[in-house]
Symmetry: C2
Subunit: 187 residues, 2 copies
């Protein structure tokens, strides 16, 4: 659950970060931005802002924004029916971005969300500077975090519904419920 | 066939146009830029510059550049084996960009390359301003052209080899042959 004012605030901050990174957004793009709190009720700690540029039956392109020190919870994209699972390519645009994937523990930049060691099990850190890319094959467990400047990145992927994502944190609810959303909201 | 000096020149111009559009390129990105003359031997008239950001077995992301008034020849992405054919999403970044797809003739901005009416049969014009997007389902015949400022765009797609593309112009050879390329070229 997230209050509408907070939802609006994190979306607006994210739009400003995208534009500060030099990307051009149309008015239609800006209306499409949304935020996910994963049902954990503290979006600025665990959450992500998502602007879907396009999504067809086959491919999707999104801009993801992490606010300073915001963390996207650990998850993976499983096989769904005949689909081998969502493959995702991340391209960092601006800010400080740390990805955590399978491999040896080499964490030096990021941090584990307080008291949630069991929900963040991947500890192989990949630092993505602006322009750097990371391919996440289907099924790869991953989480990511911004440094103190926040981070803007592209996510390009095959299309499957994000509602099929699997999370390490069993308290997660993928659908974001917005409290007190005015009926005339453009968000 | 294209002379190495001309190849280097169109690639360098394209890198400058991409950077002028505000996109950040890494040194590795810049090395990956290439140009296609489609075997027609006049790249500044018919041709395109391509910077492949990523290409996996499933998805690809490229930056395409058209120089002022440069035209990419009409083509389509056919079904290949079990693949239904390459689906492509274009997102305009900067400049003046005109796409031609199936539909009624409503051309007002672009032009048909001199004497090549038979090679440019699609005449339904879609003007893409920066931030505008166009989805090209598999099999859609299309060609595109820049106005006098040139154009920079993203192309996101499913992956199939471009060497399978079909062209209306039967003189086209998809492989670009570069004359006098020094062995130490980074292009």
């Amino acid at each position: 659950m997230i209050k509408f004012e907070e939802f609006k605030d994190v979306c607006q901050q994210s739009i400003e970060m995208i534009e500060a990174a030099g990307l051009l957004l149309t008015p239609e793009d800006k209306k499409k931005i949304t935020a996910a709190d994963f049902g954990l009720n503290h979006i600025k700690k665990e959450g992500v802002q998502i602007l879907t540029m396009f999504q067809t039956d086959r491919i999707a392109g999104k801009i993801l924004v992490l606010l300073p020190n915001q963390t996207e919870p650990e998850h993976w994209h499983p096989t769904v029916g005949n689909d081998p699972g969502k493959e995702e390519v991340i391209r960092a645009i601006s800010g400080e971005l740390y990805f955590y994937i399978p491999g040896e523990n080499n964490m030096t930049q990021g941090f584990i969300v307080d008291g949630k060691e069991d929900c963040y099990t991947m500890r192989n850190e990949v630092v993505l500077n602006p322009g750097d890319q990371l391919v996440l094959p289907a099924g790869t467990k991953h989480w990511f975090q911004a440094g103190k400047k926040g981070a803007v990145m592209y996510s390009f992927s095959t299309t499957v519904t994000d509602l099929m994502d699997q999370f390490t944190d069993q308290n997660i609810v993928r659908d974001t419920i917005i409290e007190q959303e005015p009926s005339n909201s453009t968000y």
